[in-house]
Symmetry: none
Subunit: 139 residues, 2 copies
DNA sequence: CTACAATGATACAATTAGTACAATAAAAGG
DNA sequence: CCTTTTATTGTACTAATTGTATCATTGTAG
């Protein structure tokens, strides 16, 4: 199987900082399906060497993508694509993806022998906490 | 009697180190009775091969569980679950493990921009379905 | 000239992998 | 039986890989 090497094209004349170009191009390759959730991105050093830039520049791009929850960077392990933040997908697809996520969660909870009551109560509590935290963040 | 093979699910994108995921999942399965005191865990090498990780990673997880007195590792013999932890400790661990599972689920759902309402509704629906399915299984 | 943003250099920390070893159990030989 | 050998299992130490943090340098707008 051919390893899909990430190919980015930097443009000096664009006037955009390198790290911004990296962010943009990874994002667009993601929405175009060239790279997919679960894929591992090149290491900061590998991509830096490929692009002939300092690896801190790549790290900066990765950090931005990480903060946007688009990728997950893990010290000592690497960086991975998470999932496409649902753009304007159909309502049906949206629902199906939530359904799949929820069923995975519930199956796991039941496998661990938690009761229906425990699960629903914990979901209520956690949502409540989450909402309160969100309110505090807005202040 | 089918040998109760330990089943762990690693998630690359969770951001948690592999050894931590192993620790958490063994702990969950213990407090929920899927594995019991006295049970022998897979050898570090067997579990490592199963999970496709280096055996030192499993060994690290086992060492953490050993230090927490949850398991007993014995060079040349194997690894065994120790005695039942006191009920109140067990109950606390049980709750914590459900809480962690639920928060991972909710964080992921929110990251995908689902609303609190959508999440709680879907959990209700899925639990309802699950219950009905369980009733049918009992017949 | 000054200030600030971008990039580079260097040192660091976390995770996982590689290798050799020690303890125990099981098998083999007598 | 008892001893020796071999296999199995966890341990210790080290190395390699990866991202992070901090500060220095550069270049450019104001």
């Amino acid at each position: 199987m051919a390893e899909n090497k990430l190919t980015l094209n930097l443009d000096i004349r664009s006037g955009l900082p390198i790290y911004t170009q990296i962010v943009n191009q990874i994002q667009s390759q993601l929405v175009n399906g060239i790279i997919k959730p679960g894929d591992q991105l090149p290491t900061v050093r590998a991509l830096a060497q490929d692009l002939r830039v300092n690896f801190n520049t790549v790290a900066r791009a990765y950090r931005i993508l990480d903060e946007a929850r688009i990728i997950s960077t893990q010290q000592g392990r690497g960086t991975y694509i998470t999932e496409i933040p649902p753009p304007e997908v159909s309502e049906r697809l949206r629902r199906e993806s939530l359904e799949a996520l929820t069923q995975r969660f519930i199956n796991e909870a039941f496998r661990l022998r938690f009761s229906e009551k425990e699960v629903s109560q914990m979901v209520r509590d956690s949502l409540k906490l989450k909402k309160e935290a969100a309110v505090n963040d807005d202040e």
